[in-house]
Symmetry: C2
DNA sequence: ATGAAAGCGCTAACAA
DNA sequence: TTGTTAGCGCTTTCAT
């Protein structure tokens, strides 16, 4: 049986209200009363019942985190970052993976209506009207982490997909590349489409002629990158560099290229996006864009906590976290 | 304001007790009363207040998950697996990362005493007396996921590190390798030391002479693998295969080997342990041991839920999840 | 089969 | 400064 304030009250010869006040440090409690209560609490190894506290306060200090139906190191880092920030602010983190059994809307619904979380963060690679409807249905505050901030009137933290892809092309142009191919990600993925857009607009700006056959399609997996690359290598006019929309696909390109005995970057260059752990150690090491996942999680959590505290301005905030070009040996 | 059973009761002209019963499906409630309540609940879009329910029941249906101070894809998969299993059994999952700010014992203490979770799973690469003490201090059920099951009287789910390492050596012996080196992981890591033990005992059994200089030390990072490999390559008598205690270090070996122009596996062969995502796509693809993280999470969560239900035998259970040798092109 | 009422641990409004 | 008390939403006895 856990210790309750009742037992502390008894032992200290005060009321539970006084104990509650002393413990919360808040109100006007006489210094020595406070000291006594704290001493007894410590000696009894008292821990407040968080559930009871949340319950009576009518709000929860648990932050929900809705994950999409994939798992990679990216999420692992975001989870850690969010949990760190939550912890430092006195909150807990509850994860909820969406998958075949539990749809995204079900997760949102639970977050909104079960009273279990006081706010939540949604990692969301794409959005549709059903999801929007679910998000608009409740009063629990939330923040989205998404590839695109143009997804309605929601607080959202994004990475600068468009800008970074644009800069990558600029870098390639400066390097002297003229024939630039792109392997895009899933069509319904916001990160993917913004990266593609950045690529296309930069090419257009720098008068890079992008052949239609150089716009290959992938789905962010290594296999899809390998396949797309093989196709590109079979074109009568080959590109001299391939900009893959993520590192996984870029590494798939490595495989396709090495399998036919070509060398990176002399025969063909490769660049990626994300800077996953392995990219630094690939052979050759991959030039890519480092997404600041740590900061993304932190900013999202801090914004959510602001909203949960209700302290600050309620206007929608779109925060874009800058990524960084990481130049290595693959181009 | 969320809907409560009170409002349903009013609308249905019954007491809140009846609503509660009808909703929980449990007791003897007249069929039509039940139907009516359910209908109104649905029409009002009622969701039970989980916090209140946990609170009144005096136990939580939230499962805590304590993560160590590292993040990699392995944890991402385990989190997902545990959350899946929790969900299917009507539980929620709360994560708690340990790190510089929040010690492991603090996490355990919170799990034990805050009433916020009804049980927890501890991902724990090593154990010490302080942790043991914390684990023995409370009455909240828990399950460990650890590399070694010989860590006291706790329920623990492990992977078969020893067996698998042993089998890997057997495989290498059958392949004809005679000079086998090993790069071990952190000395205080249970997975690492069991893998090393399996390696050593298998070598002993098959009369493989293991030179002392072939027992290199790493710390599971790619860099440490690279460094250890370089050292091995500088020995006057080089091994003809290196068995790294994890894939990351094995891939570090790739780097060291490629950097001096040698080829895998003709000049020297490599094997790893873990089968991380990238290993299949490394060049050459890495022969390794696939750890069944999905199953580890599932088994741990199921065992914990058993304990939380208090339904079954209380005797300590040690469950070892079998890993699988994955033969590819690196040896 | 249903209702009335107690109570889970805590906070907060109100009294003193 | 401290105590008394109501009540958060729900489950669960105990009556009826």
């Amino acid at each position: 049986m856990p210790i309750t304030i009742k037992q502390i009250a008894k032992k200290a010869n005060v009321s539970i209200a006084t104990v509650s006040r002393a413990l919360s440090g808040d109100s006007k409690v006489r210094e020595d009363t406070k000291k006594l209560v704290l001493k007894i609490a410590k000696q009894l190894n008292y821990n407040p019942n968080i559930l009871a506290r949340n319950f009576v306060k009518g709000k929860s200090n648990i932050i929900g985190l809705v994950l999409p139906d994939i798992s990679d190191e990216y999420f692992s880092e975001i989870i850690r970052s969010i949990d760190d920030t939550s912890y430092l602010n006195g909150y807990y983190t509850m994860v909820m993976s969406s998958h075949e059994n539990r749809s995204l809307t079900e997760s949102i619904n639970t977050m909104m209506n079960s009273g279990i979380v006081g706010g939540f963060i949604l990692l969301i690679p794409f959005i549709n009207s059903e999801i929007k409807k679910a998000l608009n249905s409740g009063s629990v505050p939330f923040v989205l982490i998404s590839g695109d901030d143009d997804i309605g009137d929601f607080d959202v933290v994004t990475t600068d997909n468009y800008q970074s892809a644009f800069r990558m092309v600029e870098f390639l142009v400066v390097k002297g590349y003229k024939k630039i191919a792109h392997i895009s990600g899933p069509p319904d993925n916001n990160d993917a489409s913004l990266r593609k857009k950045g690529f296309l607009n930069a090419c257009s700006k720098y008068k890079i002629d992008v052949k239609k056959s150089w716009l290959a399609k992938g789905n962010f997996t290594m296999e899809s990158g390998e396949k797309a690359c093989s196709k590109l290598l079979n074109e009568k006019e080959k590109p001299d560099v391939i900009f893959a929309a993520n590192d996984m696909m870029a590494l798939g390109c490595y495989k396709a290229i090495h399998s036919i005995g070509l060398k990176i970057p002399v025969d063909i260059a490769i660049t990626g996006f994300d800077d996953i752990l392995i990219s630094e150690y690939a052979n050759p090491s991959l030039t890519t864009i480092r997404v600041d996942t740590d900061r993304i999680g932190k900013v999202a959590a801090e914004r959510l906590i602001e909203k949960m505290n209700g302290s600050i301005n309620k206007t929608i905030q779109k925060k874009e976290i800058a990524s960084q070009l990481v130049i290595r040996s693959s181009c």
